[in-house]
């Protein structure tokens, strides 16, 4: 496993260069750090906001963009109604604004393509964000590593990166997308309309040529607990399952 020591930058300013609404609750903010840094797919950054009286709030956000591509760092931020930082981004932040940013961070929930595969990715809601970085990294590197992404969302309109993911799925180049909607009927023939479960994991893995070498699971704590248990019940060894939980 290539889990080298992370190289971290100190706090630096980063300007917002683009804003793109992804779903009703999720908007992507593209940042250009004053001192650009290399990162690995799956890593996150810390963002820090400072009020005029010196009060600071910081939160971690996963990077959605692929490493090595020259573009800005994309953070897909979900608006949390009782949040402190996400409402600032959704209601106040504009192109040209600057925030403080630190990264890259995290050395476990990462996939450099030379770690190989196959990969099983399981994301719930905005838990898809670090997995999206891996999927984009695979595409950017023209990797042939077999990857299946099981993505659970409440409804079709909350499937973040939907068109891009379906476009990658349509290439039939070893990446497969399984969507499951928990509050709506499935829209595509092989998709599901229920919460993730053992049968779904078994069927998802059947789309890989051999059992996964690593499984990445990201989402709310409840989602990750259920999905990781489903993987274990489907015969996946706990040792190859890496999780990232929002905490709540």
């Amino acid at each position: 496993m290539s889990e080298a020591l992370a190289v971290q930058s100190p706090w630096q300013t980063a300007g917002i260069v683009r804003i793109e609404k992804r779903t009703p609750r999720v908007t992507s903010f593209f940042f250009r750090p004053s001192r650009p840094f290399a990162y690995r797919a799956g890593q996150h950054v810390d963002v820090r906001l400072t009020a005029p009286d010196g009060y600071q709030a910081r939160r971690s956000y996963s990077i959605a963009s692929a490493p090595g591509t020259d573009g800005a760092i994309e953070l897909a931020i979900e608006k949390l109604d009782d949040g402190e930082v996400s409402p600032f981004f959704h209601e106040v932040a504009a192109v040209g604004d600057e925030v403080e940013l630190r990264g890259p961070l995290g050395g476990h929930f990462v996939w450099p393509d030379d770690d190989g595969g196959p990969l099983l990715l399981v994301g719930g809601g905005s838990g898809v964000v670090p997995l999206m970085s891996m999927v984009r990294h695979r595409a950017a590197r023209k990797s042939t590593v077999p990857v299946v992404l099981v993505f659970s969302a409440r409804v079709w309109d909350e499937v973040i990166f939907r068109d891009e993911l379906i476009g990658l799925d349509d290439r039939e180049d070893g990446f497969g997308l399984v969507l499951t909607l928990t509050r709506e009927a499935a829209r595509r023939p092989a998709d599901y309309s229920r919460r993730v479960d053992v049968a779904m994991m078994v069927q998802a893995m059947a789309r890989l040529p051999e059992p996964p070498r690593i499984a990445f699971v990201c989402g709310s704590n409840a989602f990750v607990s259920a999905a990781a248990q489903a993987l274990i019940d489907a015969g996946v060894a706990a040792e190859i399952i890496r999780t990232e939980r929002y905490g709540v």
Binding site: E3, L5, A6, Q8, P10, T13, R48, L49, T50, A51, P52, Y55, Q56, A57, R58, R59, S60, E84, F88, V92, A93, D97, E98, V99, E100, R102, L105, G106, G107, H108, F109, N221, S225, A228, Q229, L231, I232, A238, E239, I241, R242, T243, R245, Y246, G247, V248
Partner: protein, 203 residues
């Protein structure tokens, strides 16, 4: 750098300010974070081993461990993901009492905590003794749930909470301060919240 338009925020209550380390916010819930699936460890399969290097010194099963003196500890805890929770009530066995039961004079100044899922984290001996740390068995008077590290977790409340290893199954004396799981993956070797030692490069 003042952020344009960031005015309010979720400020800590005034009387709690002094209890919230820099960069932290006050959390009322109890978030769950871990690097892998939650192991379900049955108490009949549970054991705790004290080691010096590779050599086991003493091993306790669940009943033997629960027969050690129980101590209450109510402490503020601080997660590196920036939440702080006040007054978390734990009960468990002080590391002091574990060492006493083993009849052990600490052979080195460093330890590595081990967990059932293979997780490790390093804590200097001085941060575990003199009543500073325990192996917690109860939270709010009840067995610790698997999500929060039950049956037993380390509790080192004055360091960032990743040091308080969940699903604990051993403590190993090491000759050097050996980085554990997160310490090898970008997190600080010591992790003092009051000095904001979150990541490797923090002073």
């Amino acid at each position: 750098m003042v952020t344009r338009g960031f005015l309010s925020g979720r400020r800590p209550p005034t009387d709690g300010d002094a209890r919230i380390p820099p960069g932290q916010y006050l959390e009322q819930g109890f978030p769950v974070l871990s690097a892998g699936p939650t192991p379900r460890v049955r108490t009949e399969d549970w054991s705790f081993t004290l080691k010096h290097g590779p050599r086991p010194i003493k091993k306790w099963n669940w009943a033997e461990f629960n027969a050690l003196p129980l101590t209450k500890m109510t402490r503020d805890i601080h997660c590196v993901t920036a939440w702080t929770k006040f007054d978390t009530p734990w009960q468990g066995v002080l590391v002091d009492d574990i060492l006493a039961d083993a009849g052990l004079e600490p052979p080195t100044d460093f330890t590595l905590a081990h967990a059932f899922d293979g997780y490790t984290t390093n804590v200097p001996l001085k941060d575990l003794t003199a009543g500073k740390a325990m192996v917690a068995l109860l939270y709010e008077g009840k067995p610790i749930t698997p999500d929060h590290g039950g049956p037993a977790r380390l509790l080192v409340p004055h360091l960032y909470f990743w040091k308080s290893a969940k699903w604990l199954n051993g403590l190993q004396f090491t000759t050097r301060d050996e980085p554990g799981f997160w310490e090898l993956r970008g997190y600080h070797i010591y992790g003092d919240p009051w000095r904001e030692q979150r990541y490797t490069d923090d002073p």
